[in-house]
Subunit: 409 residues, 2 copies
Amino acid sequence: MAKIAIMGFGTVGSGVLEVIRRNAQSISRRVGEPVEVKYILDVRDFSGHPDADLFVNNLDVILQDPEIKVVVETIGGTKFAYPYVKAVLESGRSVCTSNKEMVATYGAELLALAKSHGAAFLFEASVGGGTPIITPMHQCLVANNISEVEGIVNGTTNFMLTKMKTESMGFEEALKIAQDLGYAETKDPGDDVDGRDACRKIAILASLAYGQHVYPANIPTRGIKDITVLDIKAAEKLDCAIKLIAWARRDEAGNIAAGVEPMLVSSENQLAGVDDVFNAVLMKGDMLGDVVFYGKGAGKLPTASAVVADVIDALKNGAKVHDSLFWQPSIPYEGMLEDTSASVTYLRTKGLAPEVMNTLFGEGEVVLRQEDQVCYLAQSMTLKELEDVKPKVSALGGEIQLFMRRLEQ
Amino acid sequence: MAKIAIMGFGTVGSGVLEVIRRNAQSISRRVGEPVEVKYILDVRDFSGHPDADLFVNNLDVILQDPEIKVVVETIGGTKFAYPYVKAVLESGRSVCTSNKEMVATYGAELLALAKSHGAAFLFEASVGGGTPIITPMHQCLVANNISEVEGIVNGTTNFMLTKMKTESMGFEEALKIAQDLGYAETKDPGDDVDGRDACRKIAILASLAYGQHVYPANIPTRGIKDITVLDIKAAEKLDCAIKLIAWARRDEAGNIAAGVEPMLVSSENQLAGVDDVFNAVLMKGDMLGDVVFYGKGAGKLPTASAVVADVIDALKNGAKVHDSLFWQPSIPYEGMLEDTSASVTYLRTKGLAPEVMNTLFGEGEVVLRQEDQVCYLAQSMTLKELEDVKPKVSALGGEIQLFMRRLEQ
């Protein structure tokens, strides 16, 4: 009997218990012995729960039980999760987590800690929920250098953008629906709609792809709040979908750029058809070309099943087989990763005459007009050029309300 | 220095050498030491080749060299590949192969042989070329029971069907283009167009998903030869694409059904948008829901990079970590896996009046007519019902020229 503990009995944590029980037979066959949840660490009161006797509220109970080999962390955030996971790894036990914030912030440190204590630190569920992305990336693609990762990694905003497109509605209305359905948080939906969740995920994927820690704080991040019905219509006219794209790129000199931003995605692009709460990640390998991993991102059981796959892996293999699931620490710096590339760029301006667009933003086309708003598609523009033009726009009494670059294949 | 041998220096074999050299640095970092190809086994004359000194034409040279730990098999077919791979595994060396015919036919035996000799038998490249499918399937999905696998696993026919659709051309014309581009074999394109290649691949995926050997000979297989421009037009009218779908399904009682057949795929379905030489495989896990793996299937370097990923895995981990990449032998039986499910079914008939369709095939609609051909969409029909109706069709002086079932989500 292999015994494990779960820290944090929220949605994912309770899902882990459920998956382990429902698929007990096949899991036992894979591990070579039955797997039992011996403790659940949660400070809340579960005295009425059918598994009340499993609950503990002190980490030491787990740390002092030599039977426990693997600990699942599904607390979320970093305040408790980070010190708890550190203590578990330092005790030589493996940790399996779905906590993207912790991995994105402390990944390099925790990976090194696991390595030095002969334990595994696994986090497949932190990106893409149940969809396997991290494992195929680090394992199957070992013979490739990955130049680029781009994806739709936040199901909530993708659901909202799909609604906005198919029902021609604005941001606020779509948010309300997402909240009613439980996809977005009611109190503070900012993690999703401001792009922070996507930022953490691309930080993890970029760290893994490039072998050095890429911090969320250095990734320029914009959410979808500013997108209006007019933008949706303009995108449609351009035969594009608007998607919140998280991307990372390394050029031949080794410079890394990354970002999270709403982008125009041509309907030809595989990512344009990824709708509703689905996630998809596209990777470019130098030998392999493009590969896409696609699946329903979030959800209790999908995410839990990815955590359980990691648990099985940790029970069977311990720290042995995860050498390539690793990246080096790096020093966080002030400022942002810089993107110097030029893109086709969509601009929605207010208070500017259509005639001046060409002079301000270079060659392009007026896509739509509505009152004093103009939607313009500039053929080629860098972020630096965009910054430089802002004073000129203000001088003419206008403003740039939104810009979106086009995702290039 | 880790030393390996390559058996068979065709497209994939030479690609393996190229990938190992081009990405030598990152491969060395992953393995922990440099990887060198010491021998290439090929009976053809490569005396003018820059690496002429690596070539040998006798397997014993490899078997008798204790430095060789891993052998790549890229000969293809089973005549030589099968006895050679057996000999290599029996010597305790691991084998990495892209040979779907061999895995589909002898997989269970070779997996057991590898296990009993402490070696690994890896074949990621046998399905999907470079796209990781087998590894995420057996590893990340260990916490799921897979009920269904369906996919587009033959790039050549998918390229042809894409051409036929976008340029309204018939089978012969599309085949000619595929041959000119080197996608289809000139001498005998039957492996691709008759579905045998897809059949082997779904046999491998079904064996892995269900843990018991599923033989290609038991999988009902139809190719795309009978598809005409009229069918393409009818599909378009139904807002569907025609795709060669390889599928396998296990019901709750444990009965396995599988098939390879051209199907109508609604444009809503993720697989409908998989065009050209791309492959995509969709899996349904009981905890996870749908997951899709998508990428460019064939090609020298993509396929070779998947073989090299297996080589790295075998060098690092030997037989240790592949317990779940396994299935049990089963006895091949006479006849075919039976599919008893009812589907929406498209029929192209000749010599039947539209008025009799309803009586013959049950409720449905006439989609298109051309001379004495009628394209009819029956709402629900089993394969058994289709067989039963054939004598009635003949009695009326008609024939069923083609039927295609609709892929259900």
